[in-house]
Symmetry: C2
Subunit: 257 residues, 2 copies
C-alpha cells in the first residue's frame, strides 16, 4: 500500500517534469533554446502515459496531428507496400523525432509501433509551427531536427546500397552503437529492441542471413551475441568492416583452408 502511493507520487512528479529537466534536453527540440523560449515550448508539449509494446502512435492514412519523441524505449516505423510486403523504414531511440513522414501531404505514409514500453512526448504540429514562427531559435532547431532525421534516412540508404550482407550488418550495428552513445547509453553493450526479422526487413535481407551474419561476426571475434544482447568486442574491426569493402580474396581463401 505504501509502495503504491510512492509509485503514484513518482509518476506525478515525472509527468510534471518539463523539458527543462528532461535528460534529453541536449538532443531533443529544446536544444539551443533559451530559458524563456523553453517555457513557451514546454507549454504545448503533452506527456503521455507509457505506451505498451506493440502500441501504435499513428497508422498509414492518419492526418499528421503531432510529432512524437520517445523519452525512453524504442519504436519502429513500418510501411506496407502495395504487394503486402512490410518494410521497416527506421528504428527510433530516445530523443529521435517520429512522425515527419507526413510532412509532404499531411497524411502518414507509415505506422509507428512501440518495440518496448515507452514514455512519449507528443507535440501538436500546428502549435509547434506557430510557436516556431515567433521564435527564430525554435524554427532553426526544428529545421535542424528535421535535417537530422533526413541524415538518418541517408545513412539507411548508404546501408541499403551495399551489396554484401556482412557490410550491411556491420554498418547497422555501428550506427546503432553510435546512437546509443549519443543518448548516453553504453555503445559497446546493449540489448537490441527489435527482432531478427525486423532487422532483416530494415536491411533488405532474409532473416536467416541476418542470423548467419551475427554468428559470423561472433566467430570473427568482433561481437558477442546472446539472443538480443550484443557486446562489441572489437570496435576498431567493426568500424573497418562498416566503412571498407570486405577483406581481400587472399585473406578470404586463407580463412577457408
Amino acid at each position: 500500500m505504501y509502495q503504491m502511493t510512492t509509485s503514484v507520487t513518482l509518476d506525478l512528479v515525472r509527468l510534471r517534469q518539463g523539458c527543462a529537466h528532461c535528460s534529453l534536453q541536449q538532443l531533443c527540440l529544446p536544444a539551443g533554446i533559451g530559458a524563456g523560449d523553453l517555457a513557451r515550448l514546454d507549454e504545448i508539449v503533452r506527456r503521455r502515459r507509457p505506451v505498451e509494446r506493440g502500441d501504435r502512435l499513428f497508422r498509414p492514412g492518419d492526418p499528421m496531428s503531432s510529432v512524437y519523441v520517445a523519452r525512453d524505449g524504442a519504436f519502429k516505423t513500418v510501411s506496407v507496400s502495395e504487394d503486402g510486403e512490410e518494410q521497416i523504414l527506421g528504428f527510433h531511440l530516445a530523443g529521435e523525432l517520429i512522425g515527419l513522414d507526413a510532412l509532404g501531404d499531411g497524411f502518414h505514409r507509415c505506422e509507428a509501433i512501440a518495440l518496448t514500453t515507452a514514455n512519449v512526448c507528443e507535440v501538436p504540429f500546428a502549435d509547434l509551427t506557430s510557436v516556431a514562427a515567433q521564435l527564430p531559435s525554435l524554427q532553426n532547431q526544428l529545421l535542424r531536427v528535421i535535417g537530422q532525421s533526413l541524415n538518418r534516412d541517408t545513412d539507411h540508404r548508404e546501408i541499403l546500397v551495399r551489396r554484401q550482407a556482412n557490410e550491411r550488418i556491420a554498418l547497422f550495428l555501428h550506427g546503432l552503437s553510435e546512437r546509443y552513445r549519443l543518448i548516453g547509453s553504453s555503445a559497446l553493450s546493449f540489448k537490441l529492441p527489435m527482432s531478427r526479422e525486423d532487422i532483416a526487413r530494415f536491411l533488405g535481407l532474409a532473416l536467416e542471413t541476418v542470423s548467419r551474419g551475427f554468428t559470423r561476426l561472433q566467430e570473427e571475434g568482433v561481437i558477442a551475441v546472446h539472443g538480443r544482447q550484443v557486446e562489441i568486442t572489437n570496435e576498431v574491426e567493426l568500424d573497418r568492416m562498416a566503412h571498407f569493402a570486405e577483406v581481400e580474396p587472399a585473406t578470404r581463401q586463407a580463412r577457408r583452408i
Copy 2:
C-alpha cells in the same frame, strides 16, 4: 549580329522573369502562396546563368548557403563514402529542391552535379527562413517541400530494399515516368539524363545488371530502349512489375521454353 542581339534580349527577359510567370509555379516553393507574399519571395530568389553539364552547385563540406531549384535540366547528388565508393543519392528534375542534405548540421554531405545544361534558381537559406517566419503560408510550403524531398528519399529506400534487380529497375523507370508527368513532360517517352553507371550506383546494382535489365524489359515488350531514349510501351505491365513481386515460377519457365 542581329541574332546575337535577339538572343541577349531574350536572355534578359528570361532573367527578369519572376516566380509569378515561371512554369514551375505550381510545383516549386511558390505553390499555394498569395500574390503579395509571392513578391516577397521573388525578391530573394537569385536566377543564375545556365550551368553546364558537370558543373557543381556545392561540394561536400560546403556550408549551406542556399537551396536550389532547377527550372529545367537535371542534377544528381553524389556522396563519396569513406572507402571511395560513389553513391548516387538522388536525381533532381525541374522543380525539385536541391541542397537539403545540409539541414542537419549546416554543411553539405554530398555534391550536386549537373547532368545537363540547366537553369537554376538559388534561394539564400537565411533569407528564406527569415521570410518564412513572417509568412505562415511560406513556412507551411517550405515544410511541405521538405516533406516531398523526404518522400523521394523514402521511395528510393523502397527501391533499394527490393532484392530482385528487375523490380528495382521497373520501380526506377516507373518513378521517373511519374515525375516527368508531374513536370508536364511526356511520361511515356523521355531521354534519360544519366548514364547506366549512374543508374547502377543509384539502384545499388552493377552497371551490367542495369543494362541487362533494360534489355530484358525490352524483350518482354514493356519498354523500347535506344541508348538513353526510353519509350514505355506497356505502362500497365510496368506498374505491375514495379509494385508486385516477379511473375510466378510457372510463367517464368513457360517463357524460357
